[in-house]
Symmetry: C3
Subunit: 142 residues, 3 copies
Amino acid sequence: MSENTPQLPKTALTPATHTAPPAKFSHGVRKGNLLQVAGQVGFLPAVDGQPPVPAGPTLREQTLQTFANVKAILEEGGASWDDVMMVRVYLTDVDHFAEMNAIYNTYFEEQGLKEAAAARTTVYVGLPKGLLIEIDALAVLG
Amino acid sequence: MSENTPQLPKTALTPATHTAPPAKFSHGVRKGNLLQVAGQVGFLPAVDGQPPVPAGPTLREQTLQTFANVKAILEEGGASWDDVMMVRVYLTDVDHFAEMNAIYNTYFEEQGLKEAAAARTTVYVGLPKGLLIEIDALAVLG
Amino acid sequence: MSENTPQLPKTALTPATHTAPPAKFSHGVRKGNLLQVAGQVGFLPAVDGQPPVPAGPTLREQTLQTFANVKAILEEGGASWDDVMMVRVYLTDVDHFAEMNAIYNTYFEEQGLKEAAAARTTVYVGLPKGLLIEIDALAVLG
């Protein structure tokens, strides 16, 4: 807060598995100890010259791929799921809540978290055709 | 930011009024001076062995209970409404905006804030059947 | 984190172009190095005694005005687009995504960012009649 505080750089996080973003935003950014992951969907790792392809039509396939995409960005910024404060889950259908929770629980049990689980908000919105879930995350490192 | 920075613990915030979360997330988490409250709805204080019950069918009943639920988590983490930077309000019906604002204003006048009111975003989404409002919040302590 | 940590004030950010908020929230708040911009829409600069008026009926008009409104709040708090970590874009129609991206790209190219572009999440929600876009933003200064 003093005038001597050094300027903190803001770094774009672009894992090798991700394409360049389709617009002027970053898949993730880190500045100081804060790391923000942009909304991720269930796209498979990028293939040069190909449009993005979802991992599959099912909620399970897309949710697990979305988790993998968020995790890749966290790791690119030197963070892990243990650093995540907030997970925002966007579903398209209220009837998907129970299944998403089951996938969510199993996934995070397998991650072997050492810290408290992140907070979470789940709401039901519109998403581009074929996409059933989108997730973003805020992390604090250190 | 140095290698000597001590590891900040991340603490789950679970007020006595809340059930264990229905999935592997926390009702709130605190790490350093950041506190994130998960999406809260208008459920009454938990009763052991009973499913959660909304405070009532009306927007007023649910909004006031949701505020109480957010506040309980803030207080569990040593914070108050004065520390809140951002309130996210999810409504299901655009026609509820004016009534929610009236409830919101009265509630926060009664809280006797000493600091500037938090920023806010209100959007209209789908929520599980019977729920009319969901709120989450980000706070900075200190 | 020590008991000697000085209390950080939380400051409301109300640019001259904005009306007093329609409810007990702030258009933006800053506390320490964190700045949160409330959900902005495409309202023209406020005119005393007049209700707010959108910049126009089109996505382009509203998006550019919304950007201007977010930027005014950032600047009121001593920040710029370069400090923004996260931009949340709320659209009402999936078919607006490509056009919004084009406007978004041109706008941020013109801003001459020196830092990495912010992360972003775009979802499709309901908004009050006549409004096509809402945007909020989280910034870290320093």
